[in-house]
């Protein structure tokens, strides 16, 4: 006989409200039913009252953790409507801020994940390193978490010589620290006991379920929008997709740790290739037509659809966020998992409910 128990919307491992109705047999999950809608704010409709420049700030506030990449993706989508040529320096600065964003998001996730399986000192260690990244981001952009650096036509702040030295210093100091925590996440006996073989998804299943981001790459699919989509700049920076073959929680953790190194490498390469010149081009007029832009957020691929109708307000803005794509995969992963492991499995998709519900 099965019993249905609620998981969430308030749960110690969930920073945001999502409710899962778990059908359990003894203590093994046999089915899960999600219910969403606790933090819906109607942001896609709210843009009706704001012009297309002001919408950048609304898009950044869809999610607190991946805010920079929301803003960058939106501005790039609107620039497509204008067919605008953006200065190269602005694109490089966007990459640097985007990768800083990914660094702090992954360190935050690693910390929350460690907390999820009860490893408190590792949790504090990860968040301590995240603070260093946030300090640098604050000094570059002026804001701690919601950076607001990307605007339609370019970026709003330039990188100074001082900023660049600071970034390089942060990269040098962060790399050995990540190596330290990597040893714990990858080799520690206790951690491996909790993660290896938990909620395994095969390569084929992960692809067919339409998962995105580290959840997809943790199952051996080398698909990263940074490599495949129309933002060419990552190809020049020597980007390589991080993949793990395991397909379980352990594999997904490994992918995220590898992405930390990848982000540091991208920041270094972007600084070494940083061209001189303007940081923004003036954009006049009102947008018309439709455009789609895809970028890789810390949690996976985000898709922005914008439609302009020749007025200052956009006619339609549609966002497909990575967690929206990952929730179905969570429902496929959960059957067969023991109740005590459910929090860890829910965390491995890095759920961002504010993104999903907007």
């Amino acid at each position: 006989m099965t019993t249905v128990i609620p998981f969430g919307p308030q749960h110690p491992v969930l920073p945001e409200p999502v409710s899962l109705k778990l059908e359990i047999d003894n203590d093994v999950v046999v089915g899960a039913l999600p219910s969403l809608g606790y933090v819906h704010r109607g942001l896609e409709k709210f843009i009706d009252t704001k012009d297309y420049n002001q919408t950048t700030y609304i898009c950044e506030r869809i999610c607190g953790i991946c805010s920079a990449l929301h803003g960058i993706t939106y501005t790039k989508a609107v620039e497509k409507l204008f067919d605008a040529e953006i200065p190269e320096r602005a694109e490089y600065i966007r990459v640097i801020v985007g990768e800083l964003n990914r660094l702090h998001s992954h360190l935050l996730w690693l910390g929350l994940f460690a907390d999820g399986f009860g490893f408190e000192s590792l949790f504090y260690e990860c968040w301590k390193y995240r603070e260093e990244v946030l300090d640098v981001a604050e000094r570059i952009t002026g804001n701690r978490v919601i950076h607001s650096i990307s605007k339609v036509g370019g970026v709003s702040r330039d990188l100074t010589k001082e900023n660049i030295d600071m970034l390089l210093k942060m990269c040098d100091s962060l790399e050995p620290k990540i190596k330290d925590i990597e040893k714990v996440f990858v080799n520690n006996y206790t951690v491996k006991q909790r993660l290896v073989g938990l909620a395994t998804m095969s390569k084929q299943l992960a692809y067919e379920a339409g998962t995105a981001g580290p959840t997809l790459r943790g199952s051996g699919n080398a698909i990263d929008v940074r490599e495949t989509a129309d933002w060419d700049i990552y190809k020049d920076l020597g980007f390589k997709t991080a993949v793990a073959k395991e397909g379980d929680c352990y594999g997904r953790t490994k992918v995220r740790i590898d992405e930390l190194y990848e982000s540091i490498k991208l920041i270094r390469n972007a600084i070494s290739k940083l061209p001189n010149g303007d940081i923004a081009t003036p954009i006049k007029g009102f947008p018309t037509g439709e455009a789609i832009m895809r970028t890789e957020q810390p949690r996976g691929e985000v898709v922005y659809y914008v439609k302009g109708n020749g007025t200052k307000n956009l006619e339609r803005l549609k966002v497909r966020t990575p967690t929206f794509a990952n929730i179905p995969s969570l429902l496929l992963m959960l059957p067969g998992v023991r109740l005590a492991d459910v929090p860890i499995v829910v965390l491995t998709i890095d759920p961002c409910i504010s993104c999903t519900e907007r």
Binding site: K50, Y57, E138, D180, N188
Partner: protein
């Protein structure tokens, strides 16, 4: 196993990563966007800052010659600072203090005196 033990043992001998907040306050970075500062000297009450403001935090009332900002609504996007034609607005790296008043009202001194009678004659 040794990896974490090393980290924990070195942390014991290190000083804390956090600060004793109310007693020890970190100075804000000079690049930090703390709050908007308004200098009414050159203001012409054009209202561009109000139009550009995404969260509608700024209100310009021409009749009362009043410039108002709601500090709790302001998101520090600095659209108004960039948009101001007379460079009246600037960013300060000082944070808004805890318990600050929600709105700051500034009376703008009349710059162009001859304009007032013209407007009256119309």
């Amino acid at each position: 196993m040794m990896g974490m033990l090393n980290l924990v043992l070195t942390n014991i001998s290190r000083k804390p990563a956090t600060r004793l907040y109310p007693f020890e306050i970190r100075e804000p970075f000079k690049e930090f966007k703390g709050r908007i500062v308004f200098d009414p000297g050159n203001c012409i009450l054009c209202g561009i800052c109000q139009k550009k403001c995404p969260p509608d935090a700024i209100t310009v009332t021409k009749a009362d010659k009043m410039w108002e900002i709601n500090l709790f609504r302001c998101i520090m996007c600095t659209e108004c600072v960039v948009g101001c034609p007379k460079d009246c607005l600037s960013i300060s790296n000082e944070r808004v203090k805890t318990g600050a008043k929600e709105t700051v009202k500034v009376v703008v001194p009349i710059v162009d005196k001859p304009k007032a009678p013209k407007a009256a004659s119309k």
